[in-house]
């Protein structure tokens, strides 16, 4: 059979039920194979939309997403999703077309060095040089993408090789001698960690996206509840522990709660699980958690002691390690009363510094109120996909995520334009769930074309634009740190989002009144098909509290 037909067999063998892509010259053979392969293909309007959709699908379902593009511009349009997937450890296989082998290196039409361009931003990549390699490479790509610390894998297939006639035999095993991720976790280290937890008087459990990726949310909860451990999550880890809860401190980091950041600051022991001490968490590194010892559990050994030296490193999968850590801890039966003093301190912070904002006195919708209204309208049970900016931080702060894979955003790369297509992918992966996208008027315009994809395929996402007419986060920084010299952040009121929605065949709505907002949102969510809502909010509102860049938790403002 043709190599591309073998490719279809491989995708089926990997359990792929949907792919996102856009055809072009170099992947014409692949698209010919799709014609009767029986794999659902969503035709996107821009490859970046397809790449983010595959990410959204992967984040919502935990399965490997698949995204396709042609050579040259098709592949370069995928660069942003590839990098985004790398930063947030999202398992996606990107399959790109490449010019015929005889044209390689000649600057042929639509030729780009896809492998070279993407090399720094992939977990791994494969350039097919012989058609017989193709089936094995596809399976190896899925294996690498999904195991260990998940990530993006690129497979680049020259057009002529994809047309080659090859004998196809199903591949049943992968052979990657240089790729053996450690998942077990050393028992001695786990015991040591349990002892450290038992001896600590001011512990904090700090969990990140690794907990979600490992499917270990229940195990994390079990550990936290095995004693009165205070717990906080990164922006990637939200939903890893069911909020709200008495032991939940809220998110930590630059726009985290004061309670969470102060607790980190005063902790004597921090147990990091699937989190990587990003600069948005630590602030000024030299003043980060100065009194603490660190337990660091991560499947990627390179994350351990990268930014903060770990006293008890444990390399492995959280799903595997956490139940053992909980068991070891319980066996020690430490006295919960030792945490009394710590809790009275934490409670005092919580009472003194709740998340607050000044409510409007008229019909004006405050952005924070918009998120609270959305929480109410969805019963706190939607899959919420956000874009990047102020709205993302407000959603992370004010929408309490009680389950994993209900909060999907671009954390590491901070990709504006991620939200709408990722919501599309999430909805395809979880058709039974309500999928809402919270975006900004800046972000949504970066991949708005995918509304057409949603309309054509009946993908019923509900997009709520937090519209303040600004690139709000940049405006906030210019206000606070650059003497309010607003340089190129005013976007005005273009376009008319209601008309845009209608032109794309979606329902367009505009909300401007706080008093009816919850009811209006309920109605928007109940409306069939894709809905785009222009929610007009306060123009100049700042996201608080905040650790200014390069400062420590103690220096929080707002």
């Amino acid at each position: 059979m043709r190599a591309v037909d073998a490719l279809m067999e491989c995708l089926k063998a990997e359990g792929v039920d949907v792919v996102f892509g856009l055809p072009g010259g170099a992947n014409l053979p692949t698209y010919d194979a799709f014609y009767d392969a029986g794999i659902r293909h969503i035709l996107v309007r821009h490859e970046a939309g397809g790449g983010h959709a595959a990410e959204g699908y992967a984040k919502a379902t935990g399965k490997v997403g698949v995204s396709l593009g042609t050579s040259g511009p098709g592949a370069t349009n995928l660069v942003t999703p590839i990098c985004d997937a790398m930063m947030d450890s999202v398992p996606v296989v990107f399959i790109t077309g490449q010019v015929r082998t005889e044209l390689l290196g000649t600057d042929g039409f639509q030729e780009a060095d896809t492998i070279g361009i993407t090399m720094p931003i992939v977990k791994h990549s494969f350039m097919v040089q012989h058609p017989l390699e193709l089936p094995r490479f596809i399976h190896e790509a899925f294996h690498v993408a999904r195991t260990g610390r998940p990530g993006p894998v690129v497979v680049d297939i020259p057009q002529d090789l994809s047309r080659a006639d090859i004998p196809y035999e199903p591949v049943t095993d992968v052979h990657l001698p240089g790729y053996q991720p450690t998942t077990d976790g050393n028992q001695k280290q786990i015991r040591l960690a349990a002892k450290a937890l038992a001896n600590s008087r001011r512990p904090v459990i700090y969990a990140g996206g690794g907990v979600i990726n490992a499917g270990a949310a229940a195990d994390l909860t079990e550990l936290v509840l095995s004693d009165r451990f205070p717990v906080t999550c990164t922006v990637m880890g939200l939903g890893g522990f069911p909020a709200p809860h008495d032991q939940w401190l809220g998110m930590l980091g630059m726009h985290g709660t004061r309670t969470a950041n102060y607790a980190m600051d005063e902790a004597d022991l921090i147990c990091a699980i699937g989190a990587r001490f990003d600069d948005r968490i630590t602030g000024k590194l030299s003043e980060f958690a100065p009194r603490a010892k660190f337990i660091h559990i991560d499947v990627d050994p390179a994350e351990i002691s990268k930014n903060v030296p770990a006293h008890i490193p444990i390399v492995g999968d959280a799903k595997n390690i956490l139940p053992r850590l909980t068991a070891e801890y319980r066996a020690l039966a430490p006295d919960p009363a030792r945490l009394d003093e710590w809790w009275s301190r934490v409670r005092a912070w919580r009472e003194r510094h709740p998340l607050v904002y000044e409510p409007s006195t008229d019909a004006e919708i405050k952005p924070q109120h918009m998120i609270q209204a959305l929480y109410e309208a969805t019963g706190g049970d939607a899959i919420v996909v956000s874009d990047v900016g102020q709205h993302q931080m407000w959603t992370a702060q004010y929408y309490d995520f009680a389950k994993p894979r209900r909060w999907i955003n671009s954390g590491g790369l901070g990709t504006m334009g991620f939200g709408l297509p990722a919501a599309m992918g999430a909805k395809i992966g979880c058709p039974e769930n309500t999928v809402v996208c919270v975006t900004g008027d800046g972000s949504v315009q970066m991949n708005m074309q995918e509304l057409a994809t949603c309309s054509q395929n009946g993908i019923a996402i509900k997009v709520f634009i937090m519209n303040n007419g600004y690139l709000g986060m940049v405006r906030q920084w210019q206000e606070l740190f650059w003497d309010k010299r607003y340089s190129q952040v005013d976007m005005g009121q273009w376009p008319d989002f209601v008309k845009v929605a209608e032109a794309y065949g979606a329902t367009g709505l505009r909300f401007e009144d706080k008093s009816t907002l919850v009811a209006d949102m309920r109605q928007a969510i109940a409306t069939e098909g894709p809905v785009l809502v222009d929610v007009r909010v306060t123009r100049e509102e700042n996201t608080y509290p905040m650790i200014p860049a390069g400062k420590a938790a103690r220096d929080m403002v707002g």
Binding site: M119, G178, P301, A302
Partner: protein, 185 residues
């Protein structure tokens, strides 16, 4: 250092001060990799984007045709060697990494020196070659080409000694290394 993300102006001196810290012990990494296209690019690219500096790099076949050996030397102070090896391990085509212990390692490089050897100084140059057990592999009326093998330090010492005579040009391979004793590197 100015606060990141703020309007505080950074002086060039401040930037340079953070860039110039390097006085660690030299590390020799012996890396076995799958002999596939692009593997060296992946290693070099990793070093470039993580800000690790390669001092020398040598690549060649091993006893197994499917495996190549990359020998890399770098300054261990500037970047924790631990982070370098962990990042290298994440490359799927990298099979094995050894951070070689200097005392238990034989490291050699080959260098070619083209040195001015006009009548008067020729004898002296030849004498230095003899001391270093270097070979003269090409000779003209006014110059010699000398082949030197040895450790990085030995080659450095040779260079220091012949430079005053007029060093026309020089080429060095970078060190390759193997562990002492019976066990594999």
């Amino acid at each position: 250092m100015g606060e990141p993300g703020t309007k505080e102006i950074l002086s060039l001196d401040e930037l340079e001060a953070t860039a110039g810290l390097r006085t660690g012990r030299k590390h020799i990494l012996s890396i076995l990799v799958e002999n596939r296209p692009g593997v060296l690019t992946r290693i070099a690219g990793l070093f470039a984007r993580r800000g690790f500096n390669i001092s020398t790099l040598a690549v060649g076949p091993t006893d197994d045709p499917s495996v190549s050996r990359v020998t890399l030397t770098l300054d261990g102070a500037k970047h924790p060697i631990d982070q370098v090896t962990k990042q290298l391990h994440k490359l799927v085509n990298v099979l094995k990494i050894r951070d070689l212990e200097p005392n238990e390692t034989l490291a050699r490089e080959l260098a070619l020196f083209k040195v001015n050897a006009d009548g008067a100084v020729r004898a002296e140059v030849m004498q230095i070659c003899e001391i270093f057990r270097a070979k003269i592999v090409d000779v003209t009326k006014r110059s010699v080409v000398v082949e030197v093998t040895g450790t990085y330090e030995k080659v450095e010492a040779f260079e220091r000694l012949v430079r005053p005579f007029g060093l026309i040009e020089m080429a060095r391979t970078g060190e390759i290394a193997i562990s002492r004793g019976r066990s594999e590197t």
